[in-house]
């Protein structure tokens, strides 16, 4: 009788094996593994990269950022003019269609921009409040009037949140349906969305640049576990995977079937400092902290040498990055001295760490040991990510590591959030410097690029001097693909140029 059970078991295994043999992937479909699945296809209702990066495949924007993120280039708008006073933008739209075959008009563009400004579900209305009116003067012409001049305005048009959606589609389908099976204006349409699992995209034949698209489709597949995601590519079951951990790069590079892509990014990791916490209010103490941290060691240990020591909050490669900015040397002895001088020799810091983020945890462990050399006691407090936000907002922390990636080409957004005394307490640091604040405001409306650059260099210098936070390192986007995949590129703002990708 026992044997009978064994046989049944064996048969089960064998049958399941033979089923698997019939698995085949469509030739021109690119499968990409990522950490999480999309949450929505309504461009105004998310602030997550995970959504934005797919929006770029599904929707087109009026103005695009190029591959190297050095300049803006025409998107749905083939050309634009700005009035002298910098208040009126006139955009000329090209002949284009939505995925349902209906024409894409300036009316749709105006609808999209006003929706992100006015819709109650919009997470971005603040950034578009600067728009006074957006009117389609004809099917091909969009006229936008601003309330105040804004140097970064064109850049914000390139943000995925400002993707162009179909007004008719939105009105007939309703926002809930549209958010699941949108009418696309980009290279691909959403063929199927298996929630929690994958988004299946299909080439959009009505895309104005359809000739450029080589792939038949793309599948964004959610594989949360880093190991599993890498193993999938190694085993050839995925064509590509993004979010490659630093620790895996060396090993993946050895595999001749794989290509590891390290695309420059705007990611900067930094140590937030709560300026309102005791001795941390003193500039000298913050400077001592900066000197007590061996950034190169972090780059070596945490990023396995793949990152680069940071010297400014505006990342390398981004617009107006100041390469000559001050880089304080690692000198724990001097730091100790400075702390003693400032009367903070027995400094103890409450270090808030985001649970579940390997990099952040590793950095914390490393910093703890480094700061100990300068006589600083670090108490690591690991909390779950949402709670970390709460604690940062409430000022219930001394230091903590975070990172930022840019959404738009222009440095204004990040500068405002980080040092421009925005409503979020300068990114929770409670940093106060009115000179910097005024300069940020002035730079926003300065339309002359050269003058603007000079202003941003000043801001970077002053911020560095004040140690508003401690810049740790810049790191690239690391992705891996099978060697038969070509042109799998990501620009520094995170956009994937899948319209150029080829699967051989």
């Amino acid at each position: 009788m026992l044997k009978k059970w064994m046989k049944i078991g064996l048969v089960t295994v064998i049958t399941s094996l033979s089923i698997g043999a019939g698995l085949a992937e469509a030739a021109g479909v690119l499968t990409i593994g990522r950490r999480e699945d999309s949450t929505t296809f309504d461009p105004i209702k998310t602030a997550q990269n995970i959504d934005f990066w797919v929006f770029s495949n599904v929707y087109d924007v009026l103005v695009r950022v190029d591959k190297s993120a050095s300049k803006l280039e025409p998107g749905l708008a083939e050309s634009w003019t700005v009035s002298e006073d910098g208040l009126t933008y006139t955009l000329k739209l090209r002949e284009a269609k939505f995925s349902d075959g209906s024409p894409l008009t300036a009316g749709d563009a105006a609808f999209s921009l006003l929706r992100i400004r006015d819709d109650e579900g919009s997470l971005w209305s603040d950034s578009y409040k600067v728009i006074d009116t957006a009117v389609a003067s004809d099917d091909r012409t969009l006229v936008i009037k601003l309330k105040t001049p804004s140097a970064p305005f064109l850049s914000t048009l390139a943000m995925p949140g400002a993707s162009i959606i179909s007004q008719k589609g939105m009105e007939t389908l309703g926002p809930d349906t549209y958010a699941e099976s949108p009418v696309a204006s980009g290279a691909f349409t959403v063929k199927e969305w298996r929630r929690g699992d994958r988004v299946i995209l299909e080439k959009n034949p009505n895309f104005w640049e359809a000739d450029r698209v080589k792939l038949d489709g793309v599948e964004w597949i959610s594989v949360p576990d880093d190991n599993t995601r890498m193993l999938n590519v190694q085993a050839g079951q995925l064509d590509a995977a993004i979010f490659v951990p630093f620790s895996r790069v060396a090993e993946l590079k050895k595999d001749s079937n794989l290509v590891v892509h390290m695309d420059p990014s705007t990611r900067e990791d930094h140590l937030l400092i709560n300026h309102e916490k005791g001795a941390l209010a003193k500039k000298e103490v913050r400077q001592a902290l900066d000197m007590a941290i061996d950034k190169q060691a972090i780059v070596d240990t945490v990023t396995f040498g793949l990152g680069e020591v940071a010297n400014s909050f505006i990342p390398k490669g981004a617009l107006y990055h100041y390469a000559e900015n001050l880089q304080r040397p690692f000198d724990p002895e001097k730091a100790k001295q400075m702390l003693a001088d400032a009367g903070a020799s027995d400094l103890a810091l409450n270090y808030v760490v985001r649970a579940g983020d390997e990099i952040v945890e590793q950095t914390a462990v490393l910093l703890q040991q480094q700061l100990a050399k300068a006589g600083i006691t670090v108490n690591i407090q690991k909390v779950d990510p949402s709670q970390e936000w709460d604690m940062l907002v409430a000022g219930d922390y001394d230091v903590g590591v975070n990172y930022w990636t840019n959404d738009i080409l222009d440095p204004d957004q990040k500068t405002t959030f980080v040092v421009g005394h925005d409503t979020n307490m300068n990114y929770m640091t409670r940093y106060k410097n009115d000179k910097v604040k005024d300069l940020v405001t002035a730079a926003r409306i300065e339309m002359d690029p050269a003058k603007r650059e000079a202003m941003y260099i000043d801001i970077q210098k002053m911020a560095k001097d004040d140690v508003h936070w401690i810049d740790l390192y810049y790191s690239p986007y690391i992705n891996v693909s099978r060697s038969n995949i070509e042109n799998f590129d990501q620009n520094p703002l995170g956009r994937f140029f899948l319209e150029d990708t080829v699967k051989n």
Partner: protein, 312 residues
């Protein structure tokens, strides 16, 4: 048939249990520090935007008002809207239910397929080599952290041997089963270890019981003694153990779902908790609770069917 009368009135007893669970979940979730609006908005959040989101989802109302909305919705078969995914929680759960359910079912099936023969083997060769081997393997089997086991299985079966997919959930039925083979094996390896131990103990007892002696004394060969008397008499405690474990599994598959990228409820729940997506946490908790209650109910029915002495 009045032994099965409890099938009629037991469901009424579920109501207070589910009500209790709804209250506890509701309170617990809102005790957690953190704000869904802020999570949704990310690092670019402004106070105005946060207040706007909170108002949209009724988070600015007093707690008890929110609870009555929740219960009221529940009464109409709704569970509110996900803050993160912006769709009805019930619909969201519906899309994620199947993989979890399939995983649990196939894990249980695999566990039984592994446990019954092993336990029988061990019990019938008590204190001899097969018994020791089974006991050691099952004792060790309980101790493996599932995520580590899962990774090892992937490396062996998927990367080295290439017979199973690394991860994911298939489209067609057979494809799904194929994708579930490794995940459920991961669960089954530890679950079957638990079951084997319990079943073996019960079988050893039953093999030495008066019932078995009586059967032998009337000349029944050992195989009949085993299959007709020992096995049925050892199943009841194992059924209950299995029910408890299934209850635990339903709420605990997250690790396996995460390693094998199964788009199930466990993953949804973890992400919802981390992003304070209250409605989703409540909804999933209720679904898990219902499932657990149902499984126990089912186990009761099976127990009554297996053992005519039991009255509920």
């Amino acid at each position: 048939m009045h032994r099965y009368r409890f099938v009629l009135y037991r469901p009424l007893q579920f109501l207070p249990v589910l009500l209790g669970i709804s209250i506890i979940t509701f309170v617990l979730v809102r005790l957690i520090p953190g704000d869904p609006a802020r999570v949704l908005l990310g690092s670019r959040a402004t106070p105005a935007a946060i207040a706007n989101i909170r108002a949209q989802y009724g988070l600015d109302e007093p707690l008890w008002v929110q609870y009555f909305y929740f219960i009221g919705n529940l009464g109409q078969g709704e569970m509110g809207k996900s803050i993160l995914y912006k769709i009805d929680v019930l619909r969201l759960i519906a899309t994620r239910l199947e993989p979890t359910l399939a995983l649990v079912l196939s894990s249980v099936a695999q566990s039984i397929l592994i446990a019954v023969p092993l336990a029988a083997l061990a019990a019938r060769h008590r204190t001899r080599l097969p018994d020791h081997a089974v006991r050691i393997v099952s004792t060790l089997g309980i101790g493996f952290p599932p995520f580590w086991l899962a990774l090892m299985l992937i490396i062996l079966f998927s990367v080295r041997l290439g017979i199973f997919p690394v991860s994911g959930y298939g489209g067609s039925l057979t494809d799904k089963l194929y994708h579930l083979a490794l995940p459920s094996l991961t669960v089954a390896l530890s679950l079957s270890a638990v079951l084997t131990r319990s079943l073996r103990a019960a079988m050893v007892q039953a093999l030495e019981s008066d019932v078995a002696t009586a059967a032998r004394a009337r000349g029944m060969p050992e195989s009949i003694v085993f299959w007709r008397h020992v096995l049925p008499n050892s199943l009841v405690p194992t059924v209950n153990l299995l029910a408890v474990n299934i209850g635990w599994l339903i709420g605990g598959t997250v690790v396996v779902e995460s390693v094998f990228a199964l788009p199930g409820l466990g993953q949804l729940l973890v992400r919802a908790i981390f992003s304070r997506d209250y409605m989703v946490v409540q909804g999933v908790a209720m679904v898990f609770a219902c499932a657990t209650v149902l499984v126990n109910f089912l186990a009761d029915i099976i127990t009554v069917a297996l053992d005519p002495r039991v009255k509920l």
